[in-house]
């Protein structure tokens, strides 16, 4: 893993002409973008614009309809990406009958752990210390999301694919996600996150991939990573500040 964005090497994840159709009905695309180590990229789109489908295609769970995906220059396969990716999806992958710590211990046993972190410290890292022995079913939706984020944090992987990581979280939780993403990018990881536009990754220099059917899809929104972008770019809908205040 390298410490800084290194554009000489092949990008961590690259899509060329990527499109997906379900029953001959186009879901998204064609998309071209590249994700380098040290980057956080926001996928923006309205509800139903294909954000979740895109993440499932990129994680190898779904086969792309058209185009190709390259993982570090090689064509993507499920076997190649599985040791390198952590996926946070709507179904958070937690067992309601297990305690938070048991859930994380299982994830650690299955995927291994990042050096310098353990299930209890990951739990503390998402603000849930003291909840180690609470069955996950007793937690609120936001707290479950935090446990799922702790699982992502624990995994020894470079690539995070987070589907709506801000959903259900309070303002403090939104800041937590931003902090986790920033730390992950600083240690050379990369993340693709989806958002329907209400909240946005606010630190660093986020690029965004608009998925709305009516949005202009140009190479510029994705490929000119060298240009420092504005603090955020929203392609869909509401202003983030008012939404965040409404959450409070």
């Amino acid at each position: 893993m390298h410490a800084s964005p290194d554009h000489e090497r092949p990008p961590l994840l690259e899509a060329r002409g990527l499109a997906f159709a379900r029953n001959d009905e186009p879901v998204f695309g064609p998309l071209d973008f590249a994700l380098h180590a040290g980057e956080v990229v926001l996928i923006e789109g309205d509800n139903g614009s294909g954000k979740t489908t895109l993440l499932r295609v990129l994680s190898g769970l779904l086969a792309p309809g058209e185009g190709e995906i390259r993982l570090q220059g090689e064509p993507l396969t499920l076997a190649a990406i599985a040791p390198q990716v952590a996926l946070l999806s709507h179904a958070n992958g937690l067992k309601p009958e297990l305690t938070t710590l048991e859930n994380l211990r299982f994830a650690a046993g299955l995927n291994g752990v990042r050096p310098g972190i353990s299930p209890p410290t990951a739990l503390a890292g998402v603000g849930l210390s003291g909840y180690e022995d609470v069955p996950t079913r007793r937690l609120s939706a936001g707290q479950k999301k935090r446990v799922a984020l702790a699982r992502v944090l624990l995994a020894p992987v470079a690539l995070w694919l987070l589907d709506e990581p801000y959903a259900n979280l309070d303002l403090d939780g939104i800041n937590l996600v931003n902090r986790l993403l920033e730390n992950h990018a600083n240690r050379g990881g990369a993340a693709l996150i989806t958002s329907h536009g209400a909240y946005a990754y606010t630190s660093g220099r986020p690029r965004s991939i608009p998925l709305n059917p009516n949005a202009v899809l140009g190479g510029n929104s994705s490929s000119d990573a060298s240009e420092p972008a504005a603090s955020k770019s929203i392609s869909a809908g509401a202003a983030p500040t008012s939404q965040q205040e409404r959450v409070r």
């Binding site: 999806s89 067992k95 650690a108 995927n111 990042r114």
Partner: protein
């Protein structure tokens, strides 16, 4: 980076599934209660004559256990599919077929083994001849893992569908029929004091093949179901 070894991943999965069965232990008793109910009803329907019951005992126990296993089959991947754990298994850096073999193993251990343990008792309720008792247990020990392995492939194919129970039964039952014929056939042969090793050996051979092939087929079917 410390990647988990495949061995410790399997151990973590077995441990997790055993804890989950223990936390839902009320549900775990359902197959045993179902088999007990079915077998308790037979003497009431057919009358208590030992000669009649003795003749059908092995077959009835076999069918009751087969259907009890079928009812428990749906729980194999259902909750893992619904809460997203299955996705995490597929995206883990280990061979999916090996992880699924562990899951099927735990499922057999917690649903079929209790049934095998009570089978001699259930046979006793139907006046099962003593010389058939251990043939029945042996046939079940060979047949139930085979049922679990074949059933797991069918469950993996149908897990993405809503209300797949009937479809699952339609898919699974034709595949279960030969196992039933060989298993119950061995018991019937033993009851008539005929040689009964051949059907048991057939079951053993099928089990060996299924142990190798079924986890691979199950992994392929699950990947299809998830996409």
């Amino acid at each position: 980076m410390t990647a988990a070894s495949t061995w410790s991943a399997c151990a973590a999965l077995v441990r997790r599934d055993l804890i989950l069965v223990w936390r839902r232990r009320g549900d775990a008793l359902n197959p045993v209660l179902f088999a007990l109910m079915v077998i308790a009803l037979f003497p009431l329907a057919l009358g208590p004559e030992p000669e009649v019951l003795r003749r059908i005992a092995a077959g009835v126990v076999f069918v009751a256990l087969l259907i009890a296993g079928l009812l428990a089959l749906d729980t194999l991947f259902r909750s893992d599919y619904e809460d997203g754990s299955l996705e995490q298994l597929v995206l883990s850096p280990h061979p999916l077929s090996l992880l699924l073999a562990c899951k099927i193993g735990v499922h057999w251990l917690t649903t079929a083994l209790p049934l095998i343990i009570v089978a001699p008792l259930l046979g006793e309720l139907l006046h099962l001849p003593a010389e058939v008792r251990w043939v029945l247990v042996g046939a079940l020990l060979l047949a139930t893992p085979l049922l679990s392995l074949i059933g797991a492939v069918c469950v993996a194919l149908t897990v993405g569908m809503h209300r797949s129970g009937m479809l699952l039964a339609l898919l699974v039952l034709p595949l279960y029929v030969p196992i039933l014929i060989f298993g119950a056939g061995a018991c019937n042969a033993a009851a008539l004091a005929l040689p009964h090793a051949a059907p048991l050996l057939w079951l053993a051979a099928a089990l060996v093949v299924a142990l190798v092939v079924a986890p691979l087929a199950c992994a392929a079917a699950l990947r299809i179901s998830l996409s």
